[in-house]
């Protein structure tokens, strides 16, 4: 069991800085998901915690102990790789036992630990097989098993599900979550998939271009994204944005949430609204209208894509999500409104949240 502390972690390759100072502290037993688009530095951050990449600057502590210069094996961690990295010439048993043999545990202990993990992951029947005789999902379990048997104080997951098909991914996601709860091991999990991130995480670290834009609980990140980037990255379909809206020309019936003091001087703002926070209303009380282009019916809900004009001559693409099944004519115009509390206000230049 352990805590992880990242203090102003930076990484440079030569003169090229790729991670610009990340701070986060992870509590014992927490499952933290690092999420972001490719190239945002999330894997590099994880590999630094693992000890596979050197930390250029900053303090990395596991359980209060500074581990910047420690070898991976001394950090008491286990890692699950995206490609699983199973040793192809060894049986499932030997794959799982590899690290235990290096720890020089007694044979009986190794056997019981591997069998215990195999039972947990329903791999008991497959212990004699070589990795190439396993399906993708089974290989993934072996990779998990290899991490579990070592009984480390930290689990590191590097996009462990991205090589699986969609159905299996959902199933394994659940299993990982349940396993992590059961074992109570502090975990860092990297993914580019925001749905995976939302469903797994106790807390999220949303990375953008080598910076942690927001570190918070999943629902808080969803409801109060700290930057425009976070707002656009988390949630599917993504948040609607109305760019560079002059405050003076806002419709009179659109109440904005209270803005932070420094925001009130601004002339223009970026407005964001999630597709499910918009509601159909009477034409008289509409804050904005949506011209329908396409309608996607998914059964449980309906997605309407089109253009809206909040300010005259300033159309923006917009999506609307309605519960249940609805039918709309193409090119029809829908009157919409939203609660004041659902509007997100961002700075046009920096993208920082203003309300």
């Amino acid at each position: 069991m352990a805590t992880i502390d990242l203090q102003n972690i930076r990484k440079s390759y030569g003169k090229n800085q790729v991670i610009h100072g990340v701070d986060a502290s992870i509590a014992d037993g927490e499952l933290i998901v690092i999420v972001g688009p490719s190239g945002c530095g999330k894997s590099t951050l994880l590999r630094m915690v693992a000890g596979l990449e050197e930390v250029t600057e900053g303090e990395l502590r596991i359980d209060g102990r500074r581990v910047n210069d420690e070898e991976p094996k001394d950090r008491d961690i286990a890692m699950v790789f995206q490609t699983y990295a199973l040793y192809p010439h060894m049986s499932v048993f030997d794959n799982m036992a590899y690290g235990l043999k290096i720890m020089r545990l007694p044979k009986a202990e190794i056997r019981s630990r591997v069998e215990e993990a195999a039972r947990m992951l329903s791999l008991s029947e497959l212990l004699d097989r070589k990795p190439k005789a396993l399906s993708g999902g089974q290989r993934q379990r072996v990779a998990m098993g290899r991490a579990i048997v070592r009984q480390p104080s930290v689990f590191l997951f590097d996009e462990p599900l991205s090589n699986l098909d969609a159905l299996l991914r959902v199933q394994m996601r659940l299993e990982i979550k349940q396993l992590q709860r059961r074992l109570g091991v502090t975990s860092l999990y990297v993914t580019h998939d925001q749905v995976e991130a939302m469903t797994l995480a106790d807390r999220l670290i949303v990375m953008n271009g080598g910076v942690a834009d927001q570190v918070d609980e999943a629902m808080k990140v969803y409801e109060r994204p700290a930057t425009r980037f976070v707002a656009s990255f988390i949630g599917s379909p993504g948040m609607n944005f109305l760019n560079k809206v002059p405050i003076a020309s806002l419709p009179p019936n659109l109440d904005l949430p209270e803005l932070a003091e420094q925001a009130q001087a601004r002339q223009t703002i970026d407005l964001g609204i999630r597709p499910e926070n918009l509601a159909l209303c009477d034409p008289g009380e509409a804050q904005l209208t949506l011209r329908v282009l396409t309608v996607e019916t998914l059964g449980a809900d309906t997605l309407v894509h089109g253009h809206s004009e909040l300010v005259q001559g300033h159309p923006e693409p917009m999506a609307l999500r309605l519960v249940g099944t609805h039918r709309f004519e193409e090119n029809s115009t829908l009157p919409l409104k939203a609660d004041a509390s659902h509007w997100h206000v961002f700075d046009c230049e920096t993208g920082d949240r203003l309300n």
């Binding site: 596979l52 790789f81 040793y87």
Partner: protein, 300 residues
């Protein structure tokens, strides 16, 4: 249209028969002239005993072979060849693997490093032989001059063991490049994540090399093993011919050199032909082992 390629199929169908024959003819001619014909010739000649002037020859059946297998110099040559090929193979493969592991971890200037390591392969065997001969010439060689300071009296012209050591070095030196290339390619084909996983599992660099890298290199290693043995058996002729001429006495006279020495120097064409037939069988067996073994055992 000379041929009609049927749409949506990879196979090409020819209407006539002369074009396909024409297309494979160069390969067939080369194989026929430079392999089949000499091989048949060798088998025929191995059953003949020419008269001392080479004007006529008589059929003697298997006598050439019987004579060879009872000839102590031939059996000695077998032992010499065994020692020579095992040494060359080891000396060519172990350093090559070592260099490949180093080259695999070099990031800056790797191109230069690799080029230098590959260079010896471009040197013709006879020229390589001459270079080593000059270096180790007992009276004027640079290497023998410095060896004298170390208290080593170098004279491979008289000392059979030294002569063997020298031809082994020269032959192996040339082959290191080839092995290096294959080992490097083999190493680069091993996913980095496997090594990283082993690192996190707590394996030391040596333990990782022994338990992960080496087993995953085994197909490459086995392939090179066979190639190197065949190289030592045959392609080292030039090296031996330039450095020692098979001597002193017959101490470096490996089988392939003896074929030449007996046939073209000793003018005993029947025995020489019988020897090459035995060599052909040996190589055939090696090749069979290679394919059998590679298909079955060295897979993981």
């Amino acid at each position: 249209m000379l041929f009609a390629a049927i749409a949506m199929q990879k196979k090409v169908y020819f209407r006539g028969t002369w074009l396909p024959w024409l297309l494979v003819a160069p390969q067939l001619i080369i194989t026929g002239v430079f392999f089949m014909w000499p091989a048949v010739q060798a088998v025929m000649q191995s059953t003949q005993l020419p008269d001392p002037f080479g004007l006529s020859s008589q059929y003697v059946g298997m006598e050439n072979f019987q004579f060879l297998l009872n000839d102590s110099t031939y059996l000695e040559s077998f032992a010499t060849t065994a020692l020579f090929s095992v040494s060359v193979t080891l000396m060519a493969m172990v350093p090559a693997l070592f260099f490949a592991v180093l080259a695999d971890s070099v990031i800056k200037g790797s191109g230069l490093y690799r080029t230098f390591l590959i260079w010896p392969y471009a040197v013709a065997p006879a020229i390589a032989g001459i270079v080593w001969l000059f270096m180790f010439n007992p009276s004027i060689g640079v290497a023998s001059y410095y060896l004298k300071f170390l208290g080593v009296k170098w004279n491979h012209v008289l000392d059979g063991d030294q002569a063997m050591l020298l031809v082994v070095l020269a032959a192996a030196w040339k082959q290191v490049s080839y092995n290096f290339l294959f080992f490097l390619a083999g190493l680069q084909a091993i996913p980095k994540s496997l090594i990283e996983a082993a690192t996190i599992d707590g394996a030391s660099p040596w333990h990782r090399f022994r338990t992960i890298t080496l087993p995953l290199l085994s197909p490459t290693t086995f392939f090179l093993l066979v190639v190197n043995i065949i190289y030592a058996f045959f392609d080292t002729f030039g090296v031996i011919h330039t450095i020692t001429l098979g001597g002193p006495e017959r101490d470096t006279s490996i089988l392939v050199y003896k074929v030449f020495a007996d046939g073209f120097v000793g003018q005993d064409l029947g025995s020489s032909a019988a020897q090459s037939v035995i060599l052909m069988v040996l190589v055939g067996a090696l090749t069979v082992v290679q394919f059998r073994y590679i298909e079955k055992k060295v897979h993981y």
